[in-house]
C-alpha cells in the first residue's frame, strides 16, 4: 500500500530520519510510537508531502509520489489529521466538512459525521472553527474532517497531544471505533497504551530509525517493558 524507501532527513546538522525504509499493508491499523525526537512526526509529514525528504522515495500503491504536492497526494487518497488542529476566521465546521468531502454535502450528512466523533451536531455545525472551541472540540472536528474524506490511507499525528486527560478519555473511544469511521489503512502516532492495544502492527522508532516493527503481541512488551516506557506518554512535543 505505502512504501518508504531509504528516507533521510537532516536539519541543522541533526539526522532526524536516518535511512528509514518501511512497508505498510492495505487495511491495517498501524501505530507508530517512540520517544520524543525520534522522528515520528517528520516521517508522517513526509508521507503527506508537508516535508520533503533529502533522500529516498515515497510510493503509494507502487506509484512514486515523492515529488507530488500535498493536494496531489490528498487527491490520491492520503488523509492527514494535524497534531495541532488549525483554526480559521469565518470558516464554519460545516464549511470545513464540505471542503473536506470535496462534494456537495447537506447539513444532515455533516451532522451525522459530527455525531460519530462525539459532538452534539446541531450545536457545532454552524460554529466557526476558531479559538472559541476547546482543544478537545477542535480535535474531534479535525478527526471528522479526515474521516469524511474516506481516504485510502489516513494519518493521525499524535491525536492525544494538547488535550486534557478527561477529554482524552472520551476521545479514545473514537479511536477504538476508528475502523468503523475511517476506511482503509490508518497510521497513528501515539504513546497511549489503549491505542497501541488496538493496533494490528506497531512501529517503534528511536533516534531517526525504525527500531522494531511487529504485531502488538510481539512489541507491546518491548514498548512498555523497557526503560523507554518512562519516556512515553508524558511529554507531547513533536516526535
Amino acid at each position: 500500500m505505502l512504501e518508504l524507501k531509504d528516507i533521510c532527513f537532516t536539519r541543522e546538522n541533526r539526522k532526524i530520519l536516518d535511512h528509514v525504509s518501511l512497508n505498510i499493508d492495505t487495511d491495517k491499523f498501524v501505530v507508530i510510537t517512540g520517544p520524543n525526537g525520534s522522528g515520528k512526526s517528520t516521517l508522517v509529514k513526509i508521507i503527506m508531502g508537508i516535508e520533503k525528504p533529502d533522500e529516498g522515495k515515497v510510493l503509494l500503491e507502487g506509484k512514486d509520489i515523492t515529488n507530488l504536492s500535498i493536494d496531489e497526494r490528498a487527491k490520491l487518497g492520503i488523509g492527514f489529521a494535524f497534531q495541532q488542529p488549525v483554526k480559521f476566521k469565518g470558516i464554519t465546521v460545516y464549511d470545513l466538512l464540505k471542503l473536506s468531502s470535496g462534494k456537495e454535502m447537506n447539513k444532515k450528512e455533516a451532522c451525522d459525521i459530527l455525531s460519530k466523533v462525539g459532538l452534539c451536531a446541531r450545536e457545532y455545525v454552524d460554529r466557526e472553527v476558531n479559538a472559541s472551541l476547546s482543544g478537545g472540540e477542535l480535535k474531534r472536528i479535525e478527526i471528522a474532517t479526515v474521516a469524511v474524506r474516506n481516504s485510502k490511507f489516513t494519518i493521525f499525528d499524535e491525536p492525544e497531544a494538547g488535550i486534557d486527560l478527561w477529554s482524552f478519555q472520551s476521545l479514545i473511544k473514537i479511536f477504538e471505533d476508528m475502523r468503523k469511521i475511517v476506511k482503509g489503512t490508518t497510521l497513528i502516532i501515539s504513546h497511549q497504551e489503549r491505542i497501541l492495544n488496538i493496533a494490528d502492527e506497531i512501529i517503534l522508532m528511536k533516534e531517526g530509525k525504525i527500531q522494531a516493527k511487529g504485531s502488538k503481541e510481539e512489541l507491546l512488551g518491548q514498548v512498555f517493558g523497557q526503560s523507554m516506557c518512562s519516556k512515553l506518554g508524558g511529554d507531547q512535543e513533536n516526535g
Binding site: I50, S69, I70, D71, F82, V86, K89, G90, G102, T145
Partner: protein, 306 residues
C-alpha cells in the same frame, strides 16, 4: 431600468426579481427613478439639497426600506443627503448601497451622506454594500458618510461591505450614543490593483451603559492601500470594543490607527488590531483536503470576509 441597472441592483441589494419588499427609493445617475411608500414608512424629496427624508412611524415592526443608488453615466459626480427618522420602538431593516458601472474614461463618483436619528427604543439593521464594475479607465469613487444618533435604549446594527471594483473610497462613520444604546458595526473590505480605501470611525459614548462593537475585516491585495482609523470616546460608564483584522497580500499596505479615549473611570474600552498574511498552517490544512494553493487561499478569504 435596463439589464445593467437590474444587475447592479442585484449586486448591492437583496432584490427579488425586479422589485423590493416594503418601501423603496431607487436613484439612478443623480435622479430618483422609482419610489414606493407604505402606511408606516414615508419618503419625501428634500427641497434644499439633493436627497430624501425617510420617516418611519413609531412602533413599526419588521418592515424594509431599500434606497439603492446606481450610476451608469461616466463622469457623474453625485452627492446625496438622506436622513432617516426612526420613531419610538420601531424595528426596521434598511438596505442602502451604491453600484457603479463605468465603461468609459471619466471618473464616476457617489458620495452618500446618511444620517440616522433613532428615537427611544428604536432598532435598525442597516445594510450597505458598495460595488463597482466596468471596463473603462475612469475611476469608480465612493465616499459614504454615516452619522448615527441613538436615543435611550436604541440599537443600530450596521453591516458595510465593499468587495469589488471601487477604486477610491473614504468611509466615514460617526456615532453619538445616549443611555442604554448599542451601536454595532461590521465592515468588510477587499481591495486590489491600485485601489485605496480609508475608513474613519468615530463614536462618542455619552450615556450610561452605551456600548459599541466595531469589527473590521479586510483583505488588501496587489498594490492596494487601506487605512483604518478609529476613535472611541467613553464619557461615562460604557463599553467599547474595536477589532481590526486584515489579511495582506502581494505589495499591498494596511495601516491601522487606533485611538481610545476614556474620560471616565468606568469607561471600558478595548482596541484590537491584527495585520498579517494568510497563515501557512491554514493553507496547509486545506491542501491536505485536496485544494490546491490558489483554491485554499480563496476559501480562506471567502470565509474571512463572509
Amino acid at each position: 431600468m435596463d439589464k445593467t441597472d437590474i444587475e447592479l441592483l442585484h449586486e448591492i441589494t437583496d432584490m427579488q426579481g425586479e422589485t423590493f419588499e416594503g418601501a423603496y427609493n431607487i436613484r439612478k445617475n443623480g435622479q430618483g427613478i422609482e419610489r414606493k411608500v407604505t402606511d408606516n414608512i414615508n419618503i419625501v424629496t428634500k427641497k434644499d439639497v439633493s436627497g430624501i427624508d425617510i420617516y418611519v412611524k413609531e412602533n413599526t415592526k419588521f418592515e424594509f426600506v431599500h434606497i439603492p443608488v446606481i450610476i451608469t453615466e461616466s463622469g457623474l459626480n453625485d452627492v446625496v443627503y438622506n436622513d432617516f427618522y426612526i420613531g419610538k420602538n420601531a424595528n426596521v431593516i434598511i438596505v442602502a448601497g451604491c453600484g457603479i458601472h463605468n465603461d468609459h474614461h471619466k471618473n464616476s463618483q457617489h458620495d452618500g451622506i446618511h444620517r440616522f436619528f433613532l428615537e427611544e427604543g428604536a432598532k435598525v439593521k442597516y445594510i450597505e454594500k458598495h460595488y463597482g464594475e466596468g471596463k473603462g479607465t475612469g475611476k469608480r469613487i465612493l465616499n459614504p458618510v454615516t452619522e448615527v444618533h441613538l436615543k435611550k435604549g436604541a440599537t443600530l446594527e450596521m453591516e458595510s461591505t465593499q468587495i469589488k471594483g471601487v477604486d477610491s473610497t473614504i468611509r466615514t462613520t460617526k456615532g453619538v450614543l445616549e443611555e442604554d444604546t448599542n451601536f454595532v458595526v461590521t465592515e468588510k473590505i477587499m481591495t486590489g490593483g491600485l485601489q485605496k480605501a480609508r475608513t474613519i470611525f468615530e463614536v462618542e459614548l455619552n450615556g450610561k451603559n452605551a456600548s459599541t462593537k466595531v469589527t473590521s475585516r479586510s483583505v488588501a491585495t496587489e498594490n492596494s492601500v487601506q487605512q483604518f482609523e478609529s476613535k472611541v470616546t467613553g464619557n461615562t460608564q460604557c463599553f467599547g470594543h474595536v477589532e481590526c483584522d486584515a489579511i495582506i497580500k502581494d505589495k499591498a499596505k494596511v495601516i491601522a490607527i487606533p485611538e481610545i479615549i476614556a474620560n471616565n473611570v468606568d469607561a471600558n474600552l478595548i482596541h484590537e488590531a491584527a495585520i498579517g498574511k494568510i497563515a501557512g498552517d491554514q493553507l496547509m490544512k486545506l491542501m491536505t483536503l485536496g485544494l490546491n494553493e490558489k483554491e485554499a487561499e480563496e476559501a480562506i478569504i471567502d470565509g474571512f470576509l463572509r
